[in-house]
Symmetry: C2
């Protein structure tokens, strides 16, 4: 496939801020751009299968995101497009109202580009999306289509959600920037719940500045989400890019499972540390043993218990249209006692407080987003164990592309910050991005 | 017992605002007053048994509550007095830090007067406090000592807590004003938890204006309590009393259990309605059937599950120093599944939304605080079924004295408002207070 954007004079894989600059110079470019994005999406679809729905044409609106096509994970409600939640039960479902975040995007001038494939209700049963770097491999999940669409250069920005590892893992597997902001930063009204104590709305883009700008526009308080409050620290001119941190301090977190990561992923991590140290960062090993030991059981107890309440009726009413993955999740959840659930919630609180202290001497943490490249096959969306601790804590986490593995699939680097210190975390990530100077480019589809 | 305040020129049973007015005229009165309160407390103690701890002397501080003695329920931490939590396990426990609300009271100039008897950890096992109107009857619980101390004219203001009916019920049984403000209105840091989804800090006083003024000073946001935010609507001059609402609209809520209330309590309620109608209020019957059917099971499921996590270790380690009531609560809680707990929490949310709609045409709701007079004997602190719905909803609820029953014990009237509309609820209650013109006076001890 040739790149149709080439003809418009826009760089293939241009990011949100870069596009907005171009559109300011020549507003006509924006319409042309949306049309070529749609063309590209349709052309890629046979192989990529990233979209549940693509509209026929794109309408432009005024606003700070005017002309930016944003792909929306299909568990997020859109009033003018179907919202399948990745389930055949909702095949023809068009919600009455936009999700809060979709309405907000429209008001910001963004173009709602289409609905991207999600695993069934953002749990484990995969959709048809393939990895744009190699169609024999999973794109990761659950935000499979959003990650793949950004990686393939179809859209510069996409929405996903993360309850365990559903933004960070696919972002890493597809070689794009993925951001799971602080818990509650983006209101979840109109997003199908999986586990309300853990569900986050997140973002995919090609540059750290792009997710930072989007977050600065989308973070808000909302009466319908008790956790939503505007985030501190974002400057009004975030649209012109943030200043990276000066000489950041990083804590290096490896966890006990470190040795199970692929050798190429480990080497790439060590190389990033060496480059960062050379460029002036202060880096120290940081052990988070309690979190390491306890997080996996706790997060899965919370997730299964809350999911059981949400999906119990559904798996009973639709035994033929719900997957074994979902049925098994409900069964696991139903077996938990209230005491087990509440102990896991209490551990979440304790670990949040402990982490606030542990990270206080650092600007951010460096760790892995995954064990390595995207696994082969489409049935397993990958291991989320490197994502789970930060989802449980509700702290901001970002992955950025840092290299390729031995099969030519992308590898990432994860940067994690303190709760509600999203801006500082993003500035630390931007520093790393500028030190690594790595751009995976656009895969040939 | 004669009333030692008589000699100081202060009216026996003077309220907070009245006292503050007197102290402004003659600041020396404040020291005298605190001393006579202490004298009165010590004199009454043989029979009333309202206090776990009384200090030897009272220090005065400047501030808007300067000179006001405030009695503190003994599950609320005080750094200079023991805090037993109503349990022999904590007999000699002096916490390192004041509870948030105690520190706040000190900063407002209030005098921390002493610690009042609570049932064991604010659950059912009663302390020794008797009802000041008749020592053969319970004062109610769990905030037994705080309600009795205000009713006996010992202090003009006291702190309590409510998880089921622990402020409203004892306030009604003792003939004083009790306020359970909106959930989270007063931060709970340093208050021993029973069920964090339901625990409220509340207030006892003699007049509606007094609890309103105290709430306007104590409502606050606090990082340590995610639910705390300042309440809207209170004016800066709350210290001079609020204006009552003009021609308020009341919803009359009876519930299915209505017919089981004592005849005198029913008659008194009908009389209050008749008086209110005559004075210009608009009153309409309001049925809340779903709430009526579901609230008791839901609140008890939440309470027992959360309490099981808190007290499980304690009843195991101290089988001889925990009551059968507490052991049984833990057993009940341990038997709940995560699904039962989460369904109860979901019902709480659903009912909160439904109630917001149902109350929207009214300023407040009129209902009963209890089935009638305080039961005989000290072993049972009374039925909380008329309190539970509002505690589950987290909406502001106030009881005020409205008459006496056939045994000469006080009866109350409960006023309930919309979530975070505490000020409007209090102004509606003040309207009723002025229409009823009822003052039970001070019982002779």
């Amino acid at each position: 496939m040739t790149d149709p954007t080439a003809q418009s004079g826009l760089r293939a894989g241009a990011g949100v801020l870069e596009l907005l600059r171009e559109f300011r110079h020549d507003p006509a470019l924006a319409d042309e751009y949306a049309a070529t994005c749609l063309e590209k999406a349709n052309a890629a679809e046979t192989r990529l299968k990233a979209f549940e729905y693509l509209p026929r044409e794109m309408a432009r609106r005024p606003g700070p995101l005017s002309g930016i096509p944003v792909a929306i994970k299909d568990i997020i409600a859109t009033s003018d497009m179907p919202t399948t939640n990745g389930s055949p039960i909702y095949r023809n479902h068009v919600p009455e109202h936009d999700a809060w975040v979709v309405e907000r995007l429209r008001n910001l001038g963004a173009t709602i580009f289409g609905k991207t494939v999600s695993t069934e209700f953002a749990w484990r049963h995969p959709g048809p999306t393939t990895n744009p770097w190699n169609p024999a491999h999973t794109p990761g999940g659950s935000s499979s289509g959003s990650a793949a669409a950004v990686a393939a250069g179809i859209v510069p920005l996409a929405l996903g959600t993360q309850t365990l590892g559903s933004v960070i893992r696919p972002a890493a597997f597809n070689g794009v920037v993925g951001l799971k902001p602080s818990f509650g930063a983006i209101p979840r009204t109109g997003v199908h719940p999986l586990s309300p104590s853990l569900d986050h709305v997140g973002l995919f883009a090609r540059r750290v500045d792009d997710v930072a700008f989007a977050l600065s526009l989308l973070a808000a308080s909302s009466d319908s989400d008790p956790h939503g409050r505007p985030l501190p620290g974002f400057q009004e001119d975030a649209g012109h890019g943030m200043p990276p941190l000066d000489k950041p301090r990083f804590g290096i977190v490896r966890f006990e499972k470190w040795s199970k990561a692929e050798p190429e992923q480990q080497q790439l991590f060590e190389a990033a540390i060496a480059k960062s140290r050379k460029a002036g960062a202060i880096l120290e090993e940081l052990e988070l043993n309690d979190l390491d030991q306890a997080n996996w059981k706790a997060i899965n107890t919370i997730l299964a218990s809350e999911a059981a309440l949400i999906f119990e009726g559904l798996v009973e009413r639709f035994p033929d249209r719900t997957s074994d993955h979902l049925k098994s999740l409900v069964q696991t959840g139903k077996a938990h006692s209230a005491l087990e659930y509440l102990a896991a919630k209490a551990l979440q609180e304790t670990q949040r407080s402990a982490f606030a202290t542990e990270i206080s001497g650092f600007d951010a943490i460096l760790t892995l987003p995954a064990f390595g490249e995207a696994p082969e096959g489409l049935s397993f969306t990958g291991n989320a164990e490197f994502c789970a601790p930060w989802t449980l804590l509700g702290v901001p986490a970002l992955t950025l592309p840092a290299g390729f593995g031995k099969r030519g699939l992308p590898l990432g680097l994860q940067i994690v910050g303190a709760y509600r210190q999203d801006e500082r975390t993003l500035r630390a990530a931007k520093w790393i991005e500028s030190v690594l100077e790595f751009d995976p480019g656009i895969p040939c589809l």
